[in-house]
């Protein structure tokens, strides 16, 4: 081989959305980048596939708001077909036949909450204000490399000063509030604002999505923040659908990347990272083919990268120890359902927009915590909570007219069933718990089902490569954020192996279809190569 073989500037392991974001920025900086994706499609957990004729699913992630608008613009994603459509509202069904809806319109929202408690209806404004304040603090940190407080390099020190200054704008009571926010449980946090169970249950959901914790576990208040800090066209906290399914994000990224001359190889499963004299030199694919590169970037999660793709002998012990103990326990499953008509929910008021948003069935925090108890015992929740959306009411591209795609995100769902591997029978039983819950509130639901894809952590790990099926490539608790994500001393996208970088959600600022890890990783790589980053926008001002 040797001299005749092509050597890329950058070999990207994995074509998840973060890998593609990083690849786009690197390619645009003049580098020659190849993306190697093991699946026959790109996108990782941001994928849309047609598994039954006429229906497109958002197979994993399904709602979009975290994706940074700065990145959409830099990479010209609108020109490559990306459109994010805002939606409104949602509802929780209560067991007594009522519901609690949520609306974009401030007064309708208040009046709806006031049906349950006049006090809570007004307290919601306080709550939204406090959460928004925290988001305004965090948002600008998303698009910056987390400073390493122990390096004492001038850049880290100036970043720490930047942080301290942002913090300095806070009053002492707000600083106290911030520290509490980052460490409290979502249940305790909500108790400080609300008295009504169903309201707390509705809001608590964001605190436990993708996290192997219950609403009463400390640290879950921050998880809520992580879900709240997204925006749709500047409206913080709003959510939207990527038109055409979440895969539209990855498709637009792939198209942008290729338009700048980048190479994508699908069906290219990386088996090993090649090192020469302790430096990354390329990868070996399953089957033995070598793909050479001056640098290697991994979009796979930190465990997969360092425990599977890199030889232990190339890595220091403490580092490996930290990687092994990085928490990425699977906690979620998903049902993607093709329906031959729009399901009915008799409890909801006719004509209300809430059916176009997120629908839940769990009306108390207690029920959520009980659902978590099942997970701890190694079982899927007998009474799970479901975040259900029907995006085809706003997106006509995903199903034939009159037919619908329904996405059901389900928690909790353990990586192993009572310590043993999942079986197909387990998977079907898990799906049945969810379907029967929906059917309780939607008569005739089963009869509408045309096709269904059921995903437990087993399927998520197998297909997307997310270790243990953890949806965020690592839990989003404060011990695993900022300079601790994924490993202290290695939070700036570099690794102990020279020339090997990480760019997936395992890195700062974490999971979700956000693109920020990929963008920040590209910035660090370009810095190491002494190449300009003028084509990368800074975070939008928060004024």
């Amino acid at each position: 081989m040797g001299s005749r073989m092509k050597r890329y500037d950058v070999v990207m392991i994995g074509g998840g959305h973060n890998g593609l974001v990083a690849a786009c920025y690197l390619q645009r900086a003049g580098l020659d980048v190849v993306v190697l994706e093991k699946n026959d499609w790109v996108g990782g957990a941001a994928t849309s596939r047609e598994l039954t004729p006429g229906f497109t699913y958002s197979n994993c992630s399904y709602v979009c708001s975290l994706f940074r608008p700065e990145i959409m613009r830099d990479l010209e994603l609108p020109e490559h077909g990306l459109q994010v459509v805002a939606y409104e509202g949602g509802a929780v069904f209560t067991r007594d036949g009522d519901y609690l809806a949520s609306y974009r319109d401030h007064d309708s929202h208040r009046r709806e909450f006031a049906r349950w408690s006049k006090r809570d209806a007004e307290a919601y404004d306080r709550y939204a204000r406090d959460v928004t304040r925290q988001c305004r603090f965090i948002q600008p940190l998303l698009m910056r490399t987390a400073p390493d407080p122990f390096s004492f390099r001038p850049r880290d020190i100036s970043e720490l000063i930047h942080l301290a200054r942002k913090f300095g704008e806070f009053t002492p009571s707000q600083i106290a509030q911030t520290l509490r926010f980052w460490t409290m449980s979502i249940s305790d946090f909500l108790d400080e604002y609300f008295e009504t169970d169903v309201i707390k249950a509705y809001l608590a959901l964001s605190g436990i999505i993708g996290t192997a914790l219950g609403p009463m576990s400390p640290g879950t208040a921050y998880v809520l923040l992580h879900h709240y800090m997204g925006e749709v066209d500047g409206s913080v906290g709003a959510w939207g659908y990527a038109r055409g399914g979440m895969g539209a994000v990855s498709r637009a990224l792939a198209s942008s990347f290729q338009a700048w001359g980048g190479t994508i190889r699908i069906g290219a499963d990386v088996e090993k990272v090649l090192t020469r004299n302790g430096e990354a030199a390329g990868v070996v694919l399953c089957g033995g083919e070598e793909v050479l590169g001056k640098l290697v970037v991994s979009n796979a999660d930190v465990k997969r990268t360092f425990l599977k793709l890199v030889d232990e002998q190339d890595l220091p012990d403490t580092f490996l120890h930290r990687v092994r103990h990085f928490k990425m326990r699977g906690s979620s499953g998903k049902l993607n359902i093709a329906l031959d008509s729009l399901p009915e929910f008799p409890a909801l008021p006719a004509g209300s927009s809430c059916i176009r948003g997120d629908l839940h069935f769990t009306d108390s925090v207690e029920r959520m915590e009980r659902a978590y108890d099942d997970w701890k015992a190694g079982r899927w929740s007998a009474d799970p909570f479901v975040d259900m959306v029907i995006p085809t009411q706003l997106d006509p591209t995903m199903a034939p007219p009159g037919k619908h795609f329904m996405s059901c995100f389900v928690q909790y769902c353990p990586p192993k069933v009572e310590g043993r591997d999942w079986t197909d029978a387990d998977r079907d039983a898990f799906a049945e718990t969810v379907i029967s819950q929906i059917a309780e509130y939607s008569p005739g639901f089963r009869e509408r089902i045309v096709h269904m894809e059921v995903r437990t952590p087993r399927e998520i790990e197998e297909e997307v490569g997310l270790t243990e099926g953890n949806i965020f490539q690592g839990e989003l608790t404060f011990d695993q954020l900022l300079f601790n994500r994924p490993v202290p001393g290695y939070a700036q996208y570099r690794s102990p192996v020279k020339g090997l970088y990480l760019c997936g959600s395992s890195t700062h600022p974490g999971g979700g279809v956000m693109g920020a890890p990929g963008r920040n990783a590209a910035a660090e790589i370009l810095r190491d190569l002494r190449l300009g980053t003028k084509h990368m926008s800074q975070a939008h001002d928060v004024i």
Partner: protein, 406 residues
């Protein structure tokens, strides 16, 4: 306490009318020529009814009827009501006699104003607090430990402001016997059909005027009673835009227009102490502890007050709404929060928030930068501004008792 299922189910239909219609809406809708509505505290409210300019002159020359039903109303009752309100608000509620009304304000622990409003003492243990913003969580939380009941009654009590020189004549013509005895800030109850209407000599115009409160079921018949009586006295219905002109002339401030309320502010530096929005005179330092007291006194003592609210008289006739205020033409020292050409004073007036010491020790050499858009071109004007006392206009008829007939 969560309401029962039946009450909640009955409430579901709110979604059919995202903008609540006030009890007077049927009359307003009928009278509205401009069909120009906005949302006030979730209610459909008129910007104007027929012509803002002419509506304004009704306030100043005849009488105007303005629907204040969307205003937040809290009923505070119980043996500790006085003590509770005395701790909540800035003024001494012990000095508020039964049948009197106090303009007041209340603060958070940092001494930042939560809202201003009017406190009606209906009886020894019975108060009504009216204001712009919603405060139920605050009012309930601060009631812990007091023997009081706090209830929001915005949707069950309808309110009307009857303002202008002939307002007294109209009330008399409508048969409210004894209304002549009402002094400013005094209230009394009058029979209306088989219910009662509370009439107070209060208002937001700086003119002779009254505010009337009735249970919603009696709203329309009260309107009709006034309307019939007003026929010979030039009574007209008006929208907010006309009222806003009158209130600026009177120098009154509006929460979340002239200052940002402490609970509403997302940016923490936006909170304002009473002394920073011209409400220093409300703070009673002699009375027992009230919320925000220590912070206010500390700021006074340490001279850490940052802002000041002033009245400005500006050269020329172009309103300076939201203009930046400069000192010596260079240094930014504040912002105009409300401004109009005053038809009554024949002056260009404004309310502005300045950064101390400007407006306090340094009061000369101020000017405002007005961007006047004229046929798609900005005319940028630098106009001299002079600090003047508020109110900008003073009307003797506001306080005469018994009031004049016009």
């Amino acid at each position: 306490m969560t309401p029962g299922l039946a009450a909640r189910l009955a409430g579901q239909k709110h979604i059919a009318t995202p903008r609540r219609e006030t009890p007077f809406h049927p009359r307003l809708k009928e009278l509205s020529e401009t069909n120009d509505w906005y949302t006030w505290a979730g209610c459909k409210a008129p910007h104007s009814i027929f012509d803002t300019e002419l509506e304004y002159f009704c306030i100043r020359s005849q009488a105007a009827l303005f629907d204040i039903s969307p205003m937040m109303k809290y009923r505070i009752t119980g043996p500790d009501a006085e003590r509770y309100l005395n701790r909540l608000t800035l003024r001494d509620v012990r000095k508020l006699a039964v049948g009197r009304v106090q303009y007041t304000a209340w603060c958070d622990d940092h001494g930042h104003v939560l809202d201003d409003g009017t406190l009606f003492r209906l009886d020894a243990d019975d108060f009504r607090l009216c204001c712009q913003e919603r405060h139920l969580p605050w009012l309930l939380d601060s009631a812990i430990g007091f023997s009081v009941t706090v209830e929001e009654e915005t949707e069950v009590i309808a309110g009307l402001a009857l303002q202008g020189p002939t307002s007294f004549s109209i009330l008399q013509a409508a048969g409210f016997a004894g209304v002549d005895a009402l002094k400013p800030f005094q209230l009394a109850r009058f029979p209306h059909e088989d219910a009662e209407v509370t009439i107070s000599r209060t208002g937001f115009t700086g003119d002779l005027g009254y505010e009337l409160f009735v249970p919603v079921g009696k709203a329309l018949s009260l309107w009709d009673r006034l309307w019939t009586a007003g026929r010979l006295h030039g009574l007209k219905a008006i929208g907010y835009d006309a009222l806003n002109r009158a209130r600026i002339e009177a120098g009154f401030i509006v929460a979340n227009a002239d200052f940002v309320t402490a609970e509403g502010a997302l940016r923490t530096d936006r909170g304002r102490m009473p002394d920073e929005i011209g409400l220093d005179w409300l703070v009673d330092t002699e009375k027992p502890f009230f919320n925000g007291r220590d912070a206010i006194l500390r700021a006074r003592e340490r001279r850490t007050l940052k802002h000041i609210l002033v009245g400005l008289e500006i050269e020329g006739n172009i309103p300076a709404e939201h203009a930046i205020v400069y000192h010596r033409g260079k240094r930014e020292v504040g912002l105009v929060t409300a401004a109009i050409w005053s038809p009554l004073a024949k002056r260009n007036i404004a309310i502005a928030s300045l950064e101390r010491p400007f407006g306090e020790r340094i009061a000369d050499d101020l000017c405002v930068e007005i961007y006047a858009m004229r046929e798609l071109q900005y005319r940028k004007l630098m106009k001299r501004a002079k600090i003047v006392p508020r109110p900008f206009v003073r009307l003797d008829r506001r306080t005469f008792t018994p009031p004049g007939r016009f």
